[in-house]
Amino acid sequence: MAHDEDVAGSERTLYPYVTGTSVIGIKYKDGILMAADTGGSYGSTLRYKSVERMKVIGKHSLLGASGEISDFQEILRYLDELILYDNMWDDGNSLGPKEIHNYLNRVMYNRRNKFNPLWNSLVLGGVKNGNKYLGVVTMLGAHYEDNHVATGFGNHLAVPILRSEWKEGMSFEEAVKLLEKCLLVLLYRDRSSINKFQIAKITEEGATIYPAYSLKTFWGFSAFQNPGQFAEGTW
């Protein structure tokens, strides 16, 4: 039977190799806060433990990615070129998060149409002229904006928490605490997460990617002590 590689010129990516898990993003008083762990999984092995999955783009945006790391690195190269040409105009204008989001959407959707997707879910956040922006683009080319977003497992575990506890105009401290609450749940329940996180912030002043750190976990529920006490063989 003919395989896609055998048909002249056609190619498709079938599956990812080195992957990153959830990215979470929220709007807060001064701008956008984003969080992700620093893990790169290889199948079920937690192979790489220091992968930076959030990067600053231009002057106004932050990009976080889950999915295939090599495709994320390639997207960063595309964006490098985009920003370079933008700077070369030297006209005082600069691409804002809305424009970058749109560009990424075009790239991802066009690749999807060729059955050769960039295997990522992207979170694009930023601030320009006082306007906060936070959006997502998936490997299928689906895109949307919201006050709080997440990718992968984060959609199932973090978004419900954010829907319940996010509010307009949170302070930096409140926002970090909220992100950490989500990160901890993901650490407990997402098999591909690791206990090494980075938080990134973008405001009108600029972007900061904070150094990686770990969170304390809690195991002190009495029910955890002897789960088989009343039901032998339970797990």
């Binding site: 080195v18 192979r47 220091s50 090599s70």
Partner: protein
């Protein structure tokens, strides 16, 4: 259906090798086993061909390949794919060196490897570790696994044998090792992996790269330490019996 499409997507391709790269203050030490095993054609099984992954086609291969005077690459995965990728990158780097007027940096070499791995990700099965020394950033190790991700690391492991080394390296690798400590670690790790991985074996080759140049070392199987459940090598049972060391078993009778 056909083997290409019903692979377990959760299990990455295993590669018949153990490769290691460790950086130390002043340079890098690269190490690898020497076993190349066969892979029959997936689509047909012919009795005349050796069974897949079972025959050792070369028991003394050199998996640490030179790219430039100061940069080498450890190859795992398809022997053919990695040879061809190395050849292309060596060619590009040669031109780059001429145009630059000085030795190429390790970063450039690693990124060329990445470029070929990424752009041909659908066709290649190549897990590579690039290691070398340059005057700007000293000793560096770059991992380029399947898919073409590039990651700079203080040390890297790869190949099927590396599965057995994650825990070991987590415990044994320390910041700020000397050249000798780094090489000892590489040899110990390769030896442990070869003890458990059927697809790794033979001799351990190491390549040390630093400001002073490149040193190649060779550790044949009989120089490795013995691990759990392994026995000292003998010339013959007859020697064992004559030395009277092992208790001579009584003949069994019903």
């Amino acid at each position: 259906m056909d083997p290409l499409h019903d692979m377990n997507l959760d299990a990455p391709h295993s590669m018949g090798t153990t490769i290691i790269g460790v950086s130390y203050d002043g340079g890098v030490v690269l190490g690898a086993d020497s076993r190349t095993s066969t892979f029959s054609c997936w689509f047909r099984v012919i009795s005349a061909l050796p069974p897949p992954g079972m025959y050792v086609a070369n028991r003394a291969s050199d998996k640490i390949t030179q790219l430039t005077e100061n940069v080498y690459v450890c190859r795992s995965g398809s022997a053919a794919d990695t040879q061809v990728v190395s050849d292309y990158v060596r060619y590009f780097l040669h031109q780059h060196t001429i145009q630059l007027g000085q030795p190429s940096t390790v970063k450039v070499a690693a990124n060329l490897i990445r470029m070929l791995s990424y752009q041909n990700k659908n066709m290649l099965q190549a897990g590579l570790i690039v290691g070398g020394w340059d005057k700007y950033d000293g000793g560096q190790i770059y991992s380029v696994p399947l898919g073409g991700t590039i990651l700079k690391q203080p040390f890297a492991i790869g190949g099927s044998g590396s599965s057995y080394l994650y825990g070991f390296m987590d415990q044994a690798w320390k910041e700020g090792m000397s050249k000798d400590e780094a090489e000892k670690l590489v040899v110990k790790a390769a030896s442990l992996a070869m003890a458990r991985d059927g697809a790794s074996g033979g001799v351990i080759r190491t390549v040390i790269i630093n400001a002073d140049g490149v040193t190649r070392n060779f550790y044949p199987g009989d120089t490795h330490p013995l691990w759990h459940d392994e026995l000292e090598a003998q010339n013959s049972l007859l020697d064992v019996l004559s030395s009277g060391g092992a208790a001579c078993p009584e003949p069994m009778s019903t």
